[in-house]
Symmetry: C4
Subunit: 299 residues, 4 copies
Amino acid sequence: MPLACLTDFQAYARERLSKSTWDFIEEGADDNFTRDDNIAAFKRIRLRPRYLKNVAKVDTRTTIQGEEIAAPICIAPTGFHCLLWPDGEMSTARAAQAAGVCYITSMFATCALEDIAATAPRGLKWFQLYAHPDRQLNKQLLQRVESLGFRALVITVDVPKLGNRRQDIRNQLDLKMSLLLKDLHFPKERTSMPYFQMSPIDSSISWNDLSWLQSITRLPIILKGILTKEDAELAVKHNVNGIIVSNHGGRQLDDVPQGEHGVEEVLNIIKNEFHTSMTLTGCLSVAEINRDLIQFSRL
Amino acid sequence: MPLACLTDFQAYARERLSKSTWDFIEEGADDNFTRDDNIAAFKRIRLRPRYLKNVAKVDTRTTIQGEEIAAPICIAPTGFHCLLWPDGEMSTARAAQAAGVCYITSMFATCALEDIAATAPRGLKWFQLYAHPDRQLNKQLLQRVESLGFRALVITVDVPKLGNRRQDIRNQLDLKMSLLLKDLHFPKERTSMPYFQMSPIDSSISWNDLSWLQSITRLPIILKGILTKEDAELAVKHNVNGIIVSNHGGRQLDDVPQGEHGVEEVLNIIKNEFHTSMTLTGCLSVAEINRDLIQFSRL
Amino acid sequence: MPLACLTDFQAYARERLSKSTWDFIEEGADDNFTRDDNIAAFKRIRLRPRYLKNVAKVDTRTTIQGEEIAAPICIAPTGFHCLLWPDGEMSTARAAQAAGVCYITSMFATCALEDIAATAPRGLKWFQLYAHPDRQLNKQLLQRVESLGFRALVITVDVPKLGNRRQDIRNQLDLKMSLLLKDLHFPKERTSMPYFQMSPIDSSISWNDLSWLQSITRLPIILKGILTKEDAELAVKHNVNGIIVSNHGGRQLDDVPQGEHGVEEVLNIIKNEFHTSMTLTGCLSVAEINRDLIQFSRL
Amino acid sequence: MPLACLTDFQAYARERLSKSTWDFIEEGADDNFTRDDNIAAFKRIRLRPRYLKNVAKVDTRTTIQGEEIAAPICIAPTGFHCLLWPDGEMSTARAAQAAGVCYITSMFATCALEDIAATAPRGLKWFQLYAHPDRQLNKQLLQRVESLGFRALVITVDVPKLGNRRQDIRNQLDLKMSLLLKDLHFPKERTSMPYFQMSPIDSSISWNDLSWLQSITRLPIILKGILTKEDAELAVKHNVNGIIVSNHGGRQLDDVPQGEHGVEEVLNIIKNEFHTSMTLTGCLSVAEINRDLIQFSRL
């Protein structure tokens, strides 16, 4: 049977994955309220179609942080792709390159960044960072990222503590162990997961540390996980290059804003204040795959 | 068991049709949000009954584009009736004639237009067109339609691209093949489906092409699929004779307006602006059978 | 197991009744929207409890049309009680007398009015009428009702046509036949159902006929089935003695107002306009058992 | 499988308890509307997370009625813990002491107050009272409570009549009998339940009796069950030391206010009027475990 939509791919994956891997991907944090709100928010979107327009040819190209993409779509950073497919993030990078969209590579990628960069040399790639308590390690990593041709740095701000995913607790999931198991397609021969070893995440990082981050990289800095007007205003004030409005697909703090209503005050800042002040060259609100509301504004 | 309502007919049909035919009829586009919204919109309708009125005799007659009908009801254009019943659209035409309502014959009818016209000579009939990229073919067809006594031309504007019906993809439905299969009641001896061969639909047609359409027919022109105030205003400006507010039963673009709230701004134009300007002689909002909100306004 | 609430009684009845009798009682008209709305409206009622009040003794007595009842509750008129219990409406009358509430006897009672009156001589009883096209028959019936001690006349206005109950159609229910079947506890020896034979109901009756009805009875007249502000105002104007706000338990026209929102404009008239004009001595909004919102206002 | 959340504990308990004990704990009054509203109200809570704050160290300490607790959480008074665990309320008291939160011991505790006090000597404990019609019994009990080191008196005001719990009626639950059954872990050797024998609850108690209650104890008095602005204002006027906004977990009167909307007018009084007048030293809105909305305001 042909796979006609995401739901079909979901069913296809569920049949083929172990329960603990499926749960790891499918589940949100705590009561799954935010995950479910995200899906419901998608369902509330309504389009007002205009007709009798010549649509024989359609062009969806745009630019993001100065680079052209074929459509206003980025692949959000998600980790552990080798749990699902033998060559993990390398497949994702090639798919993004083929579609002409931006691939934001997660710091928890299970392929080496060198391999990801080499397999899709023409595709636009950004790198996503969880700051490590050891500042020297952050600096070394970012130098490597820059030299491999990643064009922007996405700093995730919504994981001061890891989300409480109940099914992972019940399954006693151990990602490090899982990735060593033979049946999970992990490319053991590669010296990967150096970044995964970098845990724990620094929970002390604050707005004051942004100038230090800006001092150790030439890449534009995008903050991922902003959900409030106040934090969006602080992002403008601290001269970051963009923000990603996201609730982490409902996998971090549960019961947070979502959808067109929950985050409209942030989107208004993206549309109005950033636009008039022109501080940022690109401002973006992307979503976890299949989970969040996708909003996109460009300056 | 007597069939007491549409739901009973639905169950009756489902038992007797092949899965792919049932799915073709039942399914909307994409996530079925609009199809389901349509049904929910019907459920939200509330009447304010006034009592102690003499209702021993009730008269529901009205006129549409100058012709009298027994009730303010038209049968919306739907194709491929031969999938469901041996003499397909001829049955529908006779039923409409018996009920005294208008039958809008679809361009994707599976009976010859001559047969449809001949079987119900006294019934009011309109013809629905998907414009073809070859203008000459459109002209020839409309001349034939006029000579057969169809009294208005309904141009569907909401199919610049065919709706994405997932179940049809999963079923690998091939309508041309299906109609040749013996068990589908298709009248092979007739030279039907000439219009079905006319595909593809012209996706370049725009408001500027309306004057050309008006030049090749004497029939009043009704635009079907208008969903926004802006397009309704353009319809007034372009001197069309009516509009049909419809989301194609949720079978075209999903996530579009529906119901009394979703399209009220359009209905207000029908009620107010058209009424005062008197540009149109009849203005109508019909619905896909059992799917849409039925609204009817006459000037 | 003790029967702890109406739901328990419902389950108890369903087990013991034939399918067609259960359906006749349970079902509303058409899509059951109004029936279900009624139940939902009940669920929406919220009380604001005040505490630290001395409630050791509670008195719920009030008066209706000048008669005292133990609580502001009337048993709404429903027909065919013999379908459910051997002595039918006589049981109901005795229960109402024991509880000290008013029993509105339906014209479609399956016990003789004489028997109902005799079995509960001290209970307050009203009589409910569907007007018959033959005016003389109405007059004779009302004289009999008066002589039996019924204290008010309830005229049902919301049945110009009988509600379309699909399950009854599917079950090919024939009430006259059902009541003659042995297993339905019908008291064959009694010459009952004289009123049931009076069908059909007069669908030509209008506001202008009220003065005639007022001329043939000394009983106060209550209109049952008023759902709009306009009709409530007409009731004031025509000097009726009360109105019952009811949608017939959702068994007549479907998709009509219900609950505290749907009928609030009517209830406001009951509270305000009737109160100031003092035209009516009692004004009441009762409900079908277990179905409607119960509202009660007295002047 | 690890127990990851309250839902897991619920399933664990359901497997191990008799049906009548489970029902007694799980069920609300009447239709369970308020119980279910409470759960829905929890689900509606949305947080607005602010990020890039240093959260390496978090301190949730606060004070209540002058005593420090580790977090703004109290264990609400619930009775009959011996139905669930051999040493009943003694376990609860030790758990509260370990967590550093306040334990409000129910008058319907199934362990002797002396044992509860002795098993958790350092934990903050309050005592909850249902006033008995015999005033002398109330006085004796409160003297004992004070001498055992309970630091506040919580008077429940929302049980002038016991809630109508249908499942208990259907199960013919007899709590006194249940607690004597061997399989219910009841500590028969102890002379407990002296207060349970004190039933019935005084339904005549009113605001005027508060001064008498204040005269027989030195403990601060907290009223539990206030749901309206009017009663909150009366509480201020009568110089009580705090109120607990609660609908008794939906186990008393059904269909009452709940959640952030239902009780916001009361919470506004807690926040505004009490704050400015400074009459109360602490004002608290706690919830039944897993049922109510938890709101906490301190002055």
